[in-house]
């Protein structure tokens, strides 16, 4: 009964969808449902699997496992032309040898609809997209924005239950994009169609959507309204991807009490374990500037840089040994000393993406003074351990340095990077002997791109060696 109710206005459901290309897992057990007449945005960086998900819904790709339900019917094995969804492609994919009318009418002609009805529907759609009188033009005679509208009209004329849009505005300039965003939203509200919109632009997602699905590396990070996603990010990835943030390492002391930036604060979050490491997020617009000697100043710091951004100034403030991003309408000068204040409900607390504060690794003694882990060997004098015995290594994240791959002890792909006020917190991916996913945590000042292979050099004098019993 409850299930029935829940499904009532779900138009589309994805169940345990997994797919991989050439050994690389693109989607991993993705579960999602989409309600009728909803504007849903898949948001994430490139390579996060958002376009793949869209292509699975359209039927261009078949998942390795999992099922797609449309109106509670399993359509996993249906080819694209049998699905009641239509797609607006990234580069429009208008048919160059057909004129605007023929392009829009294409789907209806295939369905053998009577001519006068085709004519009526096409002209109505041309009105919707504001391009009346363009019937005889060829696609190449139109501007990017006009081509985009024709692509939308061509899809909508078939009256799909769901319209899929694959980064449709990315080829347009900023001003036109803003205008099209509003038009798309209006169009969606006036039609009985659910829109699934794929983008990597967080602002676009927040502006248009009823629901935002934040994705990263083939997994859904968070589903929520734009407000929820912005105000209550579930983890540091979402916080970092949705707008600029100050993301810091902290420790939850007890309910409503958190420690970060070398101080204790009241907060509004609970339900964490005592002394649980957490990520703390404070949005730059939530940091208020107060006089440095004011009682309300939580921190005192020095302005390191000021940039004018139109509506506000954006500045970096150095306080408590880290940099804070602050947005304010006050004009202050570089070098000024100020106080920073924020209230308990400006502090957003999230469990960590990776439950790992340092690197603990198993290693083997392979010679009387040599230890081997991964493919790295290092010497340690006075080891006094038998050859072949297992040891536990603790490698502090500060002791690992990024170097060019020629000088590196090991080269690994960067999986995640988040700026933590004083350094970048990076996680490098590797597989252990049992093929479990493992990560090496590195603190570094370097700014690197996720997915690149980087060389790591260990400072072995800082590695703690302990006999493993």
């Amino acid at each position: 009964m409850e299930l029935g109710l829940k499904n009532m206005n779900n138009i589309l459901e994805l169940k345990d969808i997994s797919i991989s290309f050439e050994g690389e897992q693109i989607l991993d057990k993705l579960n999602l449902y989409i309600r009728d007449r909803e504007f849903v945005t898949f948001l994430g960086p490139s390579g996060c699997g958002k376009t793949t998900t869209l292509r699975i819904i359209a039927g261009f790709l078949k998942p390795d496992s999992g099922e797609v339900f449309f109106d509670n019917k399993n359509i996993t094995n249906d080819p694209p032309h049998k699905r009641n969804v239509n797609t607006v492609f990234q580069r429009y994919a208008l048919f160059p040898h057909l004129n605007v009318f023929e392009n829009i009418a294409f789907g209806l002609k295939i369905k053998k609809m009577p001519k006068n009805e085709i004519k009526e529907r096409v002209s109505r759609l041309l009105k919707v997209v504001n391009l009346e009188g363009f019937e005889r033009r060829r696609p190449f005679q139109l501007s990017g924005g006009q081509q985009q509208r024709i692509a939308i009209a061509r899809a909508l004329v078939n009256r799909p239950k769901i319209l899929l849009l694959d980064e449709p505005l990315c080829a347009l300039d900023l001003k036109l994009r803003k205008q099209m965003q509003l038009e798309l939203k209006e169009m969606q509200q006036s039609l009985d169609t659910a829109f699934i919109y794929v983008t990597h632009d967080q602002e676009e997602a927040l502006t248009m959507s009823d629901t935002v699905v934040v994705m990263n590396e083939g997994e859904i990070q968070q589903i929520g309204t734009p407000e929820e996603i912005y105000n209550e990010p579930k983890n540091a990835f979402v916080a970092d991807f949705i707008g600029q943030s100050n993301i810091l390492n902290g420790v939850m002391l007890k309910d409503y009490r958190v420690y970060f930036a070398k101080k204790e604060f009241d907060c509004v979050d609970k339900g964490f374990k005592p002394r649980q490491p957490v990520d703390v997020v404070i949005r730059p617009e939530d940091l208020q500037i107060v006089p440095k000697d004011s009682n309300s100043a939580k921190f005192v710091g020095k302005i390191d840089s000021v940039v004018f951004k139109g509506v506000h100034y954006e500045m970096e403030v150095y306080a408590q040994n880290m940099y804070w991003l602050v947005q304010t309408t006050k004009h202050l000068k570089k070098g000024e000393e100020i106080g920073l204040n924020f209230s308990p409900d400006d502090i957003h607390i999230m469990s960590k993406l990776f439950d790992q504060m340092t690197n603990i690794m198993m290693a083997t003694v392979i010679d009387e003074d040599t230890i081997k882990f991964l493919d790295v060997e290092f010497k340690r004098v006075f080891l006094n351990l038998e050859v072949g015995c297992q040891v536990k290594l603790t490698i502090p994240p500060e002791s690992i340095h990024l170097v060019s791959s020629d000088f590196a002890d090991i080269v690994l792909p960067l999986d995640s990077i988040i700026y933590k006020g004083a350094y970048n917190e990076m996680y490098f991916y590797y597989e252990d002997e049992e093929e479990n996913d493992k990560y090496i945590l590195v603190h570094s000042e370097n700014e690197e791109e996720v997915g690149t292979e980087l060389g790591l050099k260990f400072d072995f004098s800082q590695v703690e060696v302990e006999k493993f019993e």
């Binding site: 080819p79 032309h81 492609f89 005679q141």
Partner: protein, 266 residues
């Protein structure tokens, strides 16, 4: 200044060397006597005689039928092959493209002899003798690589999303190809067809080895006539062919200019 003068002389020489022989051939098609050195007066007799000569006309007809069939079949197979080649991974694609180049680079005589040996080998098994069918197969073989080379770039230009878009709008895969992909590569297919036709029509070496004695193409006939004596009838034939080729070239150029105009508008 000197350089420019030299350059001009070079260009003129090239044009003269290219067109003087053709010019001479045409002039002597209208010569009153059989001489190839003296022009004594104007006549159209050779043209009339040409059309009376059954051997020449039938071999012209043979060549025409052969070239038409060979070019159509080669274009169909080559286009289908090119459509598959584009979908391949880049590594196997380059292997196939290199294999495709070899028959083009290879000399005609070698191609002709090897095709002949293959045909004889097969005919020994299945029975029959060299003739129309063997020369047709041989011509399809030599035309196909050119078709692939001509059509492939056109197919590459088609936005890969185009097929998805057609499927998305309700087409079955075959309908999507006919309605969307085919119209976009038609110009490539036409030029492949023309090229294949001219290769087949011109070919001497491959036809000579694979046609046997029962089926004579025009170039083979001319070759055998040249060993005895070429009559001005042949000049008349060349003149007619030249006019046909000119018409075809003009037609192709008009097509080309048109498609360029469309592109420039973009």
């Amino acid at each position: 200044m000197k350089n420019k003068c030299l350059f001009r002389i070079c260009v003129t020489m090239v044009v003269i060397f290219l067109y003087l022989p053709i010019f001479v051939v045409i002039i002597f098609a209208f010569n009153k006597i059989k001489s190839r050195t003296l022009f004594t007066g104007f006549t159209l007799n050779w043209f009339i005689e040409l059309f009376r000569d059954r051997v020449i006309i039938s071999s012209l007809f043979n060549s025409f039928i052969l070239a038409t069939l060979a070019s159509i079949i080669a274009t169909v197979i080559g286009t289908l092959a090119a459509l598959q080649i584009v979908k391949m991974k880049s590594k196997s694609q380059s292997v196939v493209m290199n294999l495709n180049y070899i028959p083009i680079v290879n000399s005609d005589v070698v191609m002709g002899i090897s095709l002949m040996l293959l045909m004889i080998f097969i005919l020994n098994v299945v029975g029959g003798s060299l003739g129309f069918l063997t020369v047709l197969i041989a011509h399809i073989t030599i035309c196909m690589p050119y078709v692939v080379l001509t059509v492939l770039p056109k197919i590459r230009q088609v936005d890969p999303n185009m097929l998805d878009a057609a499927l998305d709008l309700g087409c079955t895969p075959s309908k999507a190809f006919i309605k969307i992909i085919f119209p976009q590569i038609t110009s490539g297919i036409i030029s492949a067809l023309v090229m294949a036709f001219s290769i087949s029509f011109d070919d001497f070496a491959v036809s000579y080895f694979t046609a046997g004695s029962s089926f004579q193409t025009l170039p083979v006939l001319i070759y055998s006539m040249a060993r005895k004596r070429i009559t001005p009838k042949i000049n008349a034939l060349f003149a007619i062919l030249l006019v046909l080729i000119l018409i075809m070239l003009i037609f192709m150029n008009v097509l080309d200019v048109r498609s360029k105009k469309l592109k420039n508008k973009k």
